[in-house]
Assembly symmetry: C2
Homo-oligomer: 160 residues x 2
């Protein structure tokens, strides 16, 4: 096993650490708690959880691991702000989608070799990738890990 395998494993470990924190935090919420705002007039925990689920769902396609499973989450949790939509996915639906999406990502990650991680992601053209080879799968993984940490920092504020 070369050092490049170690690097990929370290990136995955950092991802897993944040996923575990999110599982613990969001997974324990009651149906009352999930409606709490992170600060007065800010996003509710429900919205943050749905938002993270939507962004992770989009990673399936971005990393060429499969099709999106919950494209309807974008309208509810990405394109529009919290409390602006009616008929958004329920607490139970978000919980199920979150678990499913991260499990599918985890399965896909296992199949990627060290050189697969350095290949361009699906939203970059061959020409763009040739100019900037950092637009690869591993960068997406690191970026989405930071995105998750960013919103976890907000989510804890609703609970302390």
């Amino acid at each position: 096993m070369g050092t490049e395998d170690s690097y990929a494993a370290l990136g995955l470990k950092a991802w897993k650490t944040q996923i575990d924190r999110a599982d613990t935090l969001f997974g324990a919420l009651s149906s009352e708690q999930v409606l709490r705002e992170i600060a007065p007039d800010r996003n509710r925990l429900l919205y943050l959880w749905g938002h993270l689920t939507a962004i992770h769902d989009a990673m399936l396609r971005l990393l060429s691991l499969g099709k999106r499973l919950y494209p309807e989450f974008d309208v509810a949790f990405v394109i529009n702000p919290d409390k602006s939509q009616t008929g958004t996915p329920s607490h139970a639906e978000i919980r199920r989608a979150w678990t499913t999406v991260n499990r599918e990502l985890s399965k896909g990650f296992e199949k990627l070799s060290a050189s697969d991680w350095l290949q361009g992601h699906s939203a970059v053209s061959e020409e763009e990738f040739a100019k900037d080879p950092s637009r690869n799968r591993f960068s997406v993984l690191l970026g989405r890990t930071n995105h998750l940490a960013y919103h976890l920092g907000q989510a804890v504020l609703a609970l302390k």
Copy 2:
């Protein structure tokens, strides 16, 4: 240049992205704004900035890049909660320390090779490292990048 060099560069790029965001956010604060809380009765921006500076300062020693420059920041911004101490570093002192510490880290990072990043950090014994080789410099870099993103997610709440 091997693929392991690419991985190290991608980790550094993710770090730099978060540092740039923090520079933009904290660097633009007036002496009035820096006293704002991220939410009612929560940490002030000044405290978060000092906290991040202290944690980054400790990375110099943890990554064996040099001695700590501002050990006194720990009492003010790590060991004790916000608003519990008198005589904490001022806005101007935090700004200067933040810039200095991240510049020193950046200089040190440039000298590390791909295999240097996979060496144990300074707080792990040889025996512990043999058991768990993921306790290395690269893991510290990824972990601290996530730590920075976590607090940036909180800091933006004071400004929107």
